[in-house]
């Protein structure tokens, strides 16, 4: 491993941290440019890390030159790079979107610009901290360091929600802050118990020393509860619809697309790398059941919504269920890798699709001035690009080919059939049908042709374009499934399954 090669690993963490500091000092005017520059830097470094991992296998990086377990290590395997890539793509798109979002607000809204300039500055600092924490979380190999990244993530995400000053946004931001702090504290208590029982913080070391006992079981319960709460797994999703729908749209896209995935990733990482698949089959079954319940409940609620952004938020409740289904399927049996990679693939395609849909929704709401689903007639005529982006994202949620959602669902369904748990396959497919219903709940009125004269409306072209590009990417994500699945195989906890299972 060359000197430069492994040092790419710290770039996605250090770069946004430096930008955040700089953005705080230089103020709002140059912050968007710094943000875009950082986004391209992160894309570049993640590509370099990905190529290195594909060619040379997993990377372990000793921060400060200290070996684990005394020091803190970074660790990049296929899964970590996969999540970094997801974050880089969605993050770059939201960054481009935010530039347009904050400038068009000042130009077009007609009212006194007020604090929007300040909000833009705060947005960039918070978003850069958030991005650094996401990348840091995906790369960290240390249980306590993960806690610190979780707290940065929670504080910056809650700060993004409270950038919107309406009462509803402040209430849901406050609730979100409580939820995220409680989740982190439950996680930290779990880490303290693990340290008490095993004496280490390094994940690989913890995994080697793991044994089933009172302390480890309690730690598993606390960590799982904390992360399920932060991810919004049914029935712990109570905070989610309000937080996602009341935030400003760039923040909604980041929260629904990325932040929820990070806590899911953490659970996945600990579950299989530290807790040896949940210390037994029981806990995984519980999570799988809750995931199945979430798929149905969230989708039914989404169909019943009257507001666009709230519909999308409930859709997230449903889509998160797909992620948790993998916990009851991913075992050491021959279908284990299919289930695991299917869930992870779903995280990627949902992140792109849902972020794109929130971005489209933001452009639409900005333009028509409300998000009432019953008054969306003719929106398709006025903003074809935004509606097209929404539709492409919607097709991904339904899981039709050639979307990434299709690949994910294919893997999950075949794993559930192979394992004999056919009822999971039924729920997964039913979720797709329900997704079609709630996507049409918006598309139906939006595509109605109405006669409208030319209306003055705020310029939202750049918002529409960025949303469309991201949705377009998620739409064709299945075409990339071969290299992406090859990436996921590197360092997977299901290596033994792969050796036996592949023909």
């Amino acid at each position: 491993m060359g000197l430069i090669g492994s040092n790419w690993l710290v770039v996605p963490i250090v770069l946004p941290l430096a930008t955040a500091t700089l953005a705080m000092l230089v103020g709002r005017r140059s912050a968007p440019y710094l943000g875009l520059l950082t986004a391209s830097g992160i894309l570049l470094s993640v590509a370099a890390i990905g190529l290195t991992v594909l060619e040379e296998g997993t990377i372990r990086y000793q921060l400060g030159g200290w070996e684990a377990p005394l020091g803190i290590n970074l660790y990049a395997d296929g899964l970590a790079v996969f999540m970094l890539l997801m974050t880089a793509i969605v993050g770059a798109a939201v960054s481009a979107y935010a530039v347009g979002y904050f400038t068009s607000r000042q130009d077009e809204s007609g009212r006194v610009a007020g604090d929007s300039g300040d909000r833009s500055g705060s947005f960039w600092v918070l978003w850069m901290f958030l991005w650094a924490s996401l990348n840091g979380l995906f790369l960290s190999a240390d249980a306590f360091n993960l806690y610190v990244t979780l707290e940065i993530m929670g504080l910056s995400a809650a700060g993004l929600v409270t950038l919107e000053r309406r009462q509803s946004a402040l209430s849901s931001g406050m609730r979100y802050l409580f939820v995220t702090l409680l989740g982190s504290l439950a996680y930290l208590m779990g880490v303290a118990l693990l340290y008490g029982a095993l004496g280490a913080l390094d994940l690989a070391t913890l995994g080697e020393l793991m044994y089933p006992g009172a302390a480890t079981w309690s730690a598993l319960a606390l960590i799982t509860l904390g992360m399920a709460l932060k991810t919004g797994l049914f029935p712990l999703h109570f905070w989610m619809p309000a937080a996602y729908s009341n935030a400003i749209s760039p923040a909604s896209a980041l929260l629904a697309g990325l932040v929820g995935k990070a806590s899911f990733y953490l659970l996945l990482r600990l579950w299989f790398d530290v807790f040896d698949g949940g210390l037994g089959p029981g806990p995984g079954q519980v999570l799988g059941l809750l995931g199945a319940a979430a798929i149905v409940w969230g989708a039914v609620m989404a169909v019943r919504q009257r507001r666009l952004k709230r519909l999308l938020a409930y859709s997230s409740v449903s889509q998160i269920g797909y992620l948790f289904v993998l916990f009851s399927l991913a075992t050491t049996a021959s279908w284990g890798f299919d289930a695991w990679s299917g869930g992870v693939y779903h995280a990627f395609s949902h992140a792109c699709a849902k972020a794109a849909m929130f971005m489209s929704a933001g452009a639409i709401v900005r333009s028509v001035g409300h998000d009432d689903l019953d008054r969306m007639q003719g929106v398709g005529q006025q903003m074809p690009l935004a509606v097209a982006g929404f539709a492409l994202g919607g097709v991904t949620l339904m899981g039709l080919p050639p979307t990434g959602g299709f690949t994910a669902k294919w893997l999950l369904v075949s794993a559930s059939l192979e394992s004999g748990q056919w009822w999971i396959a039924v729920v997964l497919l039913a979720g797709g049908v329900l997704a079609a219903l709630y996507v049409l709940r918006f598309l139906n009125p939006a595509l109605i042709q109405v006669k409208v004269g030319p209306v003055a409306r705020p310029a939202t072209q750049n918002l529409e374009v960025t949303a469309f590009v991201l949705a377009f990417g998620s739409f064709f994500l299945a075409l990339l499934s071969a290299p992406l699945l090859a990436l996921l195989r590197i360092g997977t906890p299901f290596a033994s399954v792969l050796l036996v299972g592949t023909p």
Binding site: V14, L63, W66, A214
Partner: protein, 348 residues
């Protein structure tokens, strides 16, 4: 025997005190009890041979956090007398607030979940308590002894004090991110655009010459204590956090007593001061990559010097940040003077 008894009483007192904090009707009293709780926690840490964190808990956990709580409770209760946003808020809201504040001495509370929710909650929470209790009583002898490893590597760490070695060398990456959290918190608080602390500050600054004298007397002492803590950290308990906490507390005292005007609302000087610790830490951490090949891996010859430089700047930023979190200045000048006209005089 006596000390065992003392430990038992202290350990029993902590959960009971926490319970009192959460059930005392009066919010002011709850916060006072919270400060007492923080001090008892600090005491128990002193008993557990952890003077570094006992010091930090007393200063930050009990002192500054307690002041933050008092300030906020004061803000919620005292607003009736010093309304600042009355102009831009609907009458309805004002009336609701009026109703809530009918008894200023006893801030609104007693909004609790219904009794059956509370009853149903006790079962899973008791179960959790029993499981955790069993877990901590049955901790096995851990297979890994990090204490031994830390002490074996102390020589190479550049400092002679274990905790400082962990914080600024073995696990300095955590510390770097943690300083990031402080900076992030200031930005997040500023983004809420709360305006400056009022009420308490004005009351204290008028007609309390004793306080002025006391603060004047304390200022040089606290600066000396802070400097000593920073210097001592390399060899014994102390370091940037304890020093920063003491100096930050001094900052809060100075602002409260009115001797020092709250920091400039849009001062780039203040912003630089807040960010400099993080920036220097990040900069040095990255720069040493060129020499040693890893982030935060200091070259052996200059380890001590680099750690001292980092600690010095950290102390400045930690002190300023803790004070700034208390004062919550608005991020923009125009904004501040427009919305809080009564402060116009101070601002210029």
């Amino acid at each position: 025997m006596l000390s065992l008894f003392f430990d038992a009483v202290l350990a029993l007192a902590l959960p009971l005190l926490a319970w009192r904090v959460l059930t005392t009707r009066d919010l002011y009293r709850a916060v006072i009890l919270f400060i007492a709780f923080g001090l008892l926690v600090a005491l128990s840490w002193a008993r557990l041979d952890a003077p570094d964190i006992a010091l930090a808990e007393a200063a930050i956990g009990a002192g500054l956090t307690g002041a933050l709580f008092l300030n906020t409770v004061g803000g919620l209760v005292g607003r009736k007398r010093s309304p600042s946003r009355e102009s831009d808020e609907s009458r309805e809201v004002a009336e609701r607030r009026e109703a809530i504040q009918s008894s200023p001495g006893e801030p609104v509370d007693e909004v609790m979940r219904p009794w059956w929710v509370r009853l149903a909650l006790t079962v899973p929470i008791l179960a959790l308590g029993l499981a955790l209790g069993w877990a901590v009583v049955s901790f096995p002898e851990p297979a890994i002894d990090l204490a031994q490893q830390a002490s074996d590597n102390l020589e190479a760490s550049g400092v002679d004090h274990g905790v400082t070695a962990v914080l600024l060398n073995f696990r300095s990456y955590d510390t770097l991110l943690e300083i990031g959290v402080l900076l992030l918190a200031v930005v997040a608080v500023w983004s809420l655009d709360l305006g400056r602390v009022r009420g308490g500050q004005a009351a204290l600054s008028k007609g309390l010459p004793v306080l002025h004298g006391l603060v004047r007397l304390l200022t040089p002492i606290m600066i000396i204590v802070g400097g000593y803590l920073l210097w001592a950290g390399a060899k014994q308990p102390g370091g940037a956090f304890q020093a920063g906490a003491v100096l930050g507390a001094l900052g809060v005292l100075l602002v409260l007593s009115g001797l020092v005007r709250p920091p400039l609302s849009d001062g780039s000087g203040l912003r630089i001061g807040l960010a400099v610790g993080f920036a220097v830490f990040l900069g040095i951490g990255t720069a040493v990559m060129l020499a040693t090949g890893e982030l935060l891996n200091y070259p052996p010859a200059s380890t001590y010097g680099l750690i001292i430089i980092i600690e010095l700047f950290l102390t400045v930023s930690i002190a300023l940040t803790l004070a700034a979190l208390f004062v919550t200045a608005p991020p923009r000048k125009e904004q501040g003077s427009k919305e809080h006209s009564e402060e116009k005089g101070e601002e210029s």
